[in-house]
Symmetry: C2
Subunit: 374 residues, 2 copies
Amino acid sequence: MTLLDPAPTTLTPRLELHVPTALTRFRQLRAALPGTAIHYAVKANPHPVLLRALVAAGSGFDVASPAEVRACLEAGARADDLVYSNPIKLRADIVSAAGLGVRLFVVDSPEETRKVAEAAPGSAVLCRIVTSGSGSDWPLSRKYGCSTSEAVEVLRLAAGLGLDPAGVSFHVGSQQRDPSAWDTPIEASSRVFAALRQAGLRPWLLDLGGGFPAALEGGAPALDAYGAAIRRSLRKRFGSRRPRTIIEPGRSVVADSGRLVTSVVAVVHRGDTRWVYLDAGVFTGLVETLDEAIRYRLETDVDGPTGPCVLAGPTCDSADVLYEKQPVHLPLALTEGDRVVLTSAGAYTTCYSTVGFNGFAPLPTELVLGLVPA
Amino acid sequence: MTLLDPAPTTLTPRLELHVPTALTRFRQLRAALPGTAIHYAVKANPHPVLLRALVAAGSGFDVASPAEVRACLEAGARADDLVYSNPIKLRADIVSAAGLGVRLFVVDSPEETRKVAEAAPGSAVLCRIVTSGSGSDWPLSRKYGCSTSEAVEVLRLAAGLGLDPAGVSFHVGSQQRDPSAWDTPIEASSRVFAALRQAGLRPWLLDLGGGFPAALEGGAPALDAYGAAIRRSLRKRFGSRRPRTIIEPGRSVVADSGRLVTSVVAVVHRGDTRWVYLDAGVFTGLVETLDEAIRYRLETDVDGPTGPCVLAGPTCDSADVLYEKQPVHLPLALTEGDRVVLTSAGAYTTCYSTVGFNGFAPLPTELVLGLVPA
């Protein structure tokens, strides 16, 4: 317990992070997908105590910058347990990562493959293929990924450049609610593997990406359902030639381990609408509320009947509004100074905070011994 | 010149900030609106050297948090030159600001008026009224502002609570392209003033807000046109009883003084689409590109014919895409390592940076001696 803050603050806003919950989720994922290595996506929450605990639990890591590589190594990870999964990389960053021992990089184009061959000769590469993202809360854009035929070309090019054409990677989209969403890209990956084998290459690794859900509003099937669907798909598409598999969960490991504790700054009635202003908002960690894409569950210790309200943040910025199109329901008695807790907020909050926009400090983390309701 | 970095970096990304340009824009605004005090909106860019230069030029400041109050005082501003314009304030923040000498607060509800009366007794208050925001690039939400009749009630309540009911404030929306947009709220304000006078009160201050444009893509009338339209409106609506006036420009002072210098990480062809990946993106200062609301002008020193491309940032986040719906045009010869400069990027960039999402550092500022094209 020496890693815990000896004098927990009662200041808000703060992210209460309960590392044991993240470890429980990590173990649930591992149990749901036996034989699949878990590479925690550091970008979701890079807290050093969390990383250290995940190293001890046997996690690998998904990194996207030299700073994330260093954070993992400092937490005790081995460079062999890292996959550098950013398909587009600064050349200098590849050199840095390779210098730190990273040997596995994701690419998705001939250009990036040549770059890795030059900056980290002899490395292994995965080629990312594009997916539709349908069924997820936050469908991925067309920013990354190529077609299966391009992937075959990219991996053949890689082999020709002295790289190890390790296999394929994909990502079905964040907070994916449909366990069968993995089947289409797994099928596509199996075709890439077959074509590579026909060309005499020996792909060995399939990166199933992230997208496993946290317990946000809306619900999602249990992790076991994802594991069963993915195992079924792997069996169907690869038969006895199943490659090694890894996943890159971020949100599903750490979201449920965090509670974002806020205080009510003011409750104001504007026409027929009740506005509740919190001391955390879009610029202090809640970027994922933009377009109301992610809906956090809310808890408060105020009793009595509830009613709809718009939720907004503390900065003097008109964009700092959390939920307006689809209002939330909070107690009618809620007033200045009351606590409002956003649950399942451990992912993409502290790391999305601004440097201090409008003079409001970045969201701090407090390590806690338990996740007590408000 | 001792304030300038003696060894300018060539690292990217960086914001090159040319303080003299901000001062020129400040003087242009002052010339366009003689007799109107300028309160620079610190949230747009709180760089201490900029604040110091603006103090020396005679600027007041629009602040929204104790941290911004302290930044202004440290830059040499007097507390009397500050307007605390966040209509919704933490009680503790009002106490802090009042303790630092701030005497003018914006409110927009009875609740906030009572809070200011208790936390900063005897202060002056402006009541913010709501506007449509039509004609602006970034229309304000309904987050702030009340009706004119509510404003009369709020200011009468203020007087009853021992506050100075100083007048009215409004904001026509950021990057407002229509100089006549101020007339409707000025007319509305004049009705609030008349009602207060009829009630025996003596309002004396009208806060015309911000919204004056920077030279972003799309163009906008010259500042003089804004000054003329506002002076005409004030004459028409207030006649000889024109109150003291202030404006709160942020973007229009500092946007054109900044150039965001980036490097091309990669150029990748995806199907028929060319994707250009820069080393700055949504999480390193370019939040205002979300929904493609603000379109920065782009410069590069690469010659030759241009073609359309999607612009994206460096993080491994699918949301880190700048312009996709309406592509930009950049040279076809553009390649890894080339510089791409986003002009008029001095506002809402460094301050909107994340703390380092995905291991990409916050956007740094480099003070420069001139704004040289790429």
